[in-house]
């Protein structure tokens, strides 16, 4: 059919248009080096990737495997997280296998001009244990449309070949020496070493032969000090390679490295700002019913409003037509000239689409005297916002070319703290689903990738508006998480680090069983009280209050919990560890696509501190961010990694499949899970529930109102 055909064909079309965009002259493609950062083969260059681009890179040459997730955080700043597996690396006097995590930053200082080259600097392995630690300043200039040259100066590991005295010594003598690492546990920046010690030059040339094929020659200043004898045979600093791009989102590279090794690399590019089917593949919305001139005559017939039978008929018809749109009608207030429609949107990622469909559907069932349609978004039994639309605007603007902006200008979005008007029969609500789950465990030094796979049963039961019971039961089918033998060496209360004891003993496991009450204490305020088995490792009570005006980019919240550690069988019992934990949180959504959150309070191990979180938020629901927690636990007490930190990626499922869905997939990449700075993982935190029903985010996705 028309829609289904498009799922398969739109991809081909994208490929076609991209190919036709490249005409006679091959344009130089960007590139990623073997560490996944912007660069040549092993060396960096001074260019940036397209803003917001995510890339996943895997590169290999003898005994050296690197997997990198790289993200262009801003137009100039990119960050890369690399997980490397090096066999036969020399550490001190031993030859060992090493699993190494490193994080690198690349910042473009200047764009390329007519004469001026692009200029960038970078810090490699800023936080890890330092195998790849280095810094560089690099310049890149495009000479002809097919030829680009790069030259740079490196410090640290990038000063391994032809090193000379640090020119920064002219500024201060202390730049000339680079101390050995302090031998920290990872996580510390050790700013005093950056750009210190000897320096060396590196460089390279790229030649774009065809649209898809690029040749690269480079001179590497990395002499592989730890690997160059035991891991492979280092002979020469010159590398040659080719990069082949069969599709715009795929790069395959092959290279001959250091005079002895064949290397291979594959990179997959993801642009969160693109979509396979931007406007979605869901069915057409219900058309607006325009009232006839006769219906709009005077006097208006309002007799229906006094007739319970007619009102019941309208409510029934409204429920039917909204259900057909995947929208649940849970409340309805009918007045002669005004209808208030209370809906639950579990279907469309962007609430404006649900608001638009509800309003259009209501034009088909409401008597002609109703002039205003007010759509209230209900979230976990709380009214989160009310959008009031003039029915005449819906009739007039349905097909205007600027219909989305026009209707937004005429819509009134306000807080709706008042009580709901539940329709008889809309509660209780019960939902359940049975599906697979996967819990991967990355970065275990003994086995870098472990996972469990099984089935999970999810249930949600809402007996009345605002009351919600949740349960999640998991049964493992296959997996090896229980093979972890590594015992926690934590000196803190073991609130997270004995996860392997849970993995071994809990099957089946009750991951969540809670009752929660959601309520609106007043204007701009939202409340939650939860009790039960709140998360995998802890149970107890949790209470939260959020202040979030409907038009505001800013929100404040406070959460208090009293919890006990659950038994390792993850069923009903508790262990002998109880803690009061809670936070004060501030949330801010910048206009230009960034989200920041600060939590200050007490963590599960009883430590006090602060979590900082910064996310790049895309208007279509993609989010890429990082967080770090600093508490009064010292780096030594914390152990490996020094403090809790990680990277989060949230993918809206519907954006990938084209089908409407509010499901998102969030993954947290945490280099190491320790006990310091651990926060309770309770469901349904209020900010996450209500923020996308408020004006700033409704406005961002309002283009879907007429979809």
């Amino acid at each position: 059919m028309l829609r289904r055909a498009l799922i398969t064909t739109s991809l081909c079309c994208l490929g076609l248009s991209a190919a036709t965009g490249l005409t006679a002259e091959p344009a130089l493609t960007s590139g990623l080096n073997s560490f996944g950062g912007p660069g040549l083969i092993e060396m960096p260059f001074a260019l940036a990737h397209p803003d917001g681009q995510l890339s996943v890179t895997s590169s290999y040459f003898q005994n050296n495997l690197r997997n990198t997730l790289s993200f262009q955080i801003t137009p100039r700043l990119s960050g890369s997280f690399t997980y490397a597996n090096i066999t036969d690396i020399t550490r001190g006097t031993e030859v060992v296998e090493l699993f190494d995590r490193s994080f690198s930053l690349h910042y473009q200082l200047a764009d390329e001009g007519v004469w001026q080259p692009a200029l960038a600097f970078g810090l490699n392995d800023v936080l890890g244990t330092g195998v790849y630690r280095s810094e560089y300043v690099v310049a890149t200039k495009t000479l002809t449309p097919q030829l680009r040259v790069t030259g740079g100066i490196g410090w640290g590991r990038l000063a391994g070949v032809g090193g000379f005295t640090n020119p920064l010594g002219l500024i201060d003598d202390s730049f000339e020496t680079r101390d050995a690492r302090d031998g920290n546990l990872g996580g510390e920046v050790e700013l005093d070493q950056i750009f210190n010690g000897p320096a060396a030059l590196f460089g390279g040339i790229e030649y774009q032969a065809t649209d898809k094929l690029k040749f690269i020659l480079e001179y590497s200043s990395d002499d592989y000090p730890y690997e160059g004898e035991s891991s492979f045979d280092y002979r020469s600093p010159v590398n040659v390679g080719l990069s082949y791009r069969p599709r715009p989102d795929l790069d395959l590279s092959a290279r001959y490295l250091y005079g002895s090794q064949l290397g291979l690399q594959a990179t997959f590019f993801i642009d969160p700002k693109s979509a396979r089917a931007p406007s979605g593949l869901e069915k057409a919305p219900p058309p607006v019913r325009r009232r006839s001139a006769a219906e709009l005559g005077w006097p208006q017939d309002t007799g229906w409003a006094a007739s319970p039978a007619e009102r019941d008929t309208i409510a029934l018809q409204a429920a039917q037509i909204l259900t057909a749109q995947g929208i649940d009608l849970v409340g309805l207030v009918l007045k002669p000239d005004h209808a208030r429609v209370e809906i639950i949107n579990d279907t469309y990622l962007e609430h404006p689409e649900a608001i638009g469909r509800s309003a259009r559907a209501m034009t088909r069932v409401l008597p002609a005297s109703v002039q205003q349609i007010e759509v209230v978004l209900v979230v976990n039994g709380m009214p989160a916002s009310a959008t009031t639309l003039q029915r005449r605007d819906l009739e007039d603007l349905e097909f205007a070319f600027d219909n989305s902006w026009s209707i937004f200008a005429r819509a009134r979005i306000s807080d709706a703290p008042g009580p709901l008007a539940p329709l008889p029969g809309s509660y209780p609500r019960f939902e359940w689903d049975l599906g697979p789950y996967v819990t991967p465990s990355l970065f275990d030094p003994d086995a870098p990738l472990r996972a469990d796979l099984g089935v999970e049963l999810n249930t949600r039961y809402a007996p009345a508006p605002g009351l919600l019971f949740r349960g999640q039961l998991r049964k493992k089918l296959i997996g090896n998480l229980d093979e972890t033998t590594r015992q926690s060496d934590s000196v803190l209360p073991r609130v997270r680090s004995d996860y392997n004891l849970y993995d071994t003993e809990a099957d089946p496991r009750l991951t969540e069983l809670t009752g929660a009450w959601f309520f609106r204490p007043g204007r701009n305020l939202y409340g939650r009280v939860s009790a039960g088995y709140l998360e995998q490792y802890f149970g107890g009570v949790s209470a939260e209050l959020l202040w979030k005006p409907v038009t505001s980019d800013f929100a404040l919240g406070v959460e208090a919990n009293y919890v006990a550690k659950r038994d390792y069988d993850m069923l009903f019992g508790f262990q002998d560890y109880e803690v009061a934990t809670g936070h004060v949180s501030a949330y801010y959504e910048w206009d230009n696509g960034y989200f920041g959150q600060i939590d200050v309070g007490r963590y599960l191990a009883g430590d006090w501190g602060t979590t900082l979180k910064l996310e790049r938020t895309f208007k279509n629901g993609w989010r890429v961010g990082a967080f770090a927690t600093f508490t009064d636990v010292s780096f030594e007490e914390f152990g490996e990694g020094s403090f809790d930190k990680g990277i989060t990626v949230t993918i809206p499922i519907g954006q990938v499949t084209g089908q409407p869905s509010r499901d998102t997939y969030t993954t947290v990449l945490r280099p190491v899970q320790r006990d310091g700075g651990a926060r309770l993982d309770v469901s349904d935190r209020l900010y996450g529930l209500v923020h996308d029903a408020h004006t700033p985010e409704l406005q961002e996705s309002w283009g879907r109102f007429w979809r």
Partner: protein, 205 residues
């Protein structure tokens, strides 16, 4: 109350509606599977649309009218809306036309000829970040000539009107096959880079 109750007609009609072409690169021609007898037996208006770039085609029936805009639907719920024969919205293509202003084109089509003045045309669509993007065309009638076309066994004497529309970085050619009474029996209109051309044929008035 079900706005698409019109689709729940006897099976033979459903079959007629469901017929569509999915395969690429050469979609089987939907026109070859339809006969005039089938269309005549079908007691309501019917259009056939084709999106060559998307490799799709389907037949549609009318489901709603708002002023001058008629909305049509395929059996699987894709909606196309035309203002007096010119597309102003698509819903469900994945690369939809969200809205359009075609008043300039309509006026030029109905002006009777002779003018080569430029007039604007506007389209809007959603990009991958869910933002509305506007296309602003400058258009001009570039040709009118008499033709005879045959739509599934039915011949129409028409005037073919060609319209050239300029974008800042591209040029597209729209065509209209207009009957003596003003009916647009066939049109070929460009929607957007992702959707390409939309061909619409009026099989039954």
């Amino acid at each position: 109350m079900n706005m698409r109750s019109g689709l729940l007609k006897p099976l033979s009609l459903a079959l007629l509606l469901i017929v569509s072409a999915c395969a690429r690169p050469a979609p089987p021609d939907l026109r070859a599977t339809l006969t005039r007898a089938q269309i005549d037996a079908f007691e309501q208006p019917l259009i056939l649309v084709e999106l060559p770039q998307l490799g799709s085609s389907a037949t549609l029936i009318p489901v709603a009218r708002n002023g001058d805009v008629q909305t049509w639907s395929t059996a699987d719920g894709v909606g196309l809306s035309y203002e007096r024969g010119l597309p102003v919205a698509t819903r469900g293509l994945g690369v939809d036309l969200m809205g359009a202003d075609v008043t300039g084109s309509l006026a030029a089509l109905n002006s009777g000829g002779g003018t080569t003045a430029y007039y604007p045309r506007f389209h809007s669509h959603l990009d991958g970040a869910q933002q509305i993007r506007y296309l602003s065309f400058q258009c001009q009638i570039t040709g009118r000539r008499a033709e005879t076309i045959t739509l599934i066994g039915q011949r129409h004497a028409v005037q073919r009107i060609d319209e050239t529309c300029h974008l800042p970085d591209a040029r597209v050619e729209n065509s209209y096959w207009r009957g003596i009474d003003g009916t647009l029996w066939r049109t070929k209109q460009w929607l957007s880079e992702d959707a390409g051309y939309l061909i619409t044929e009026r099989l039954r008035k």
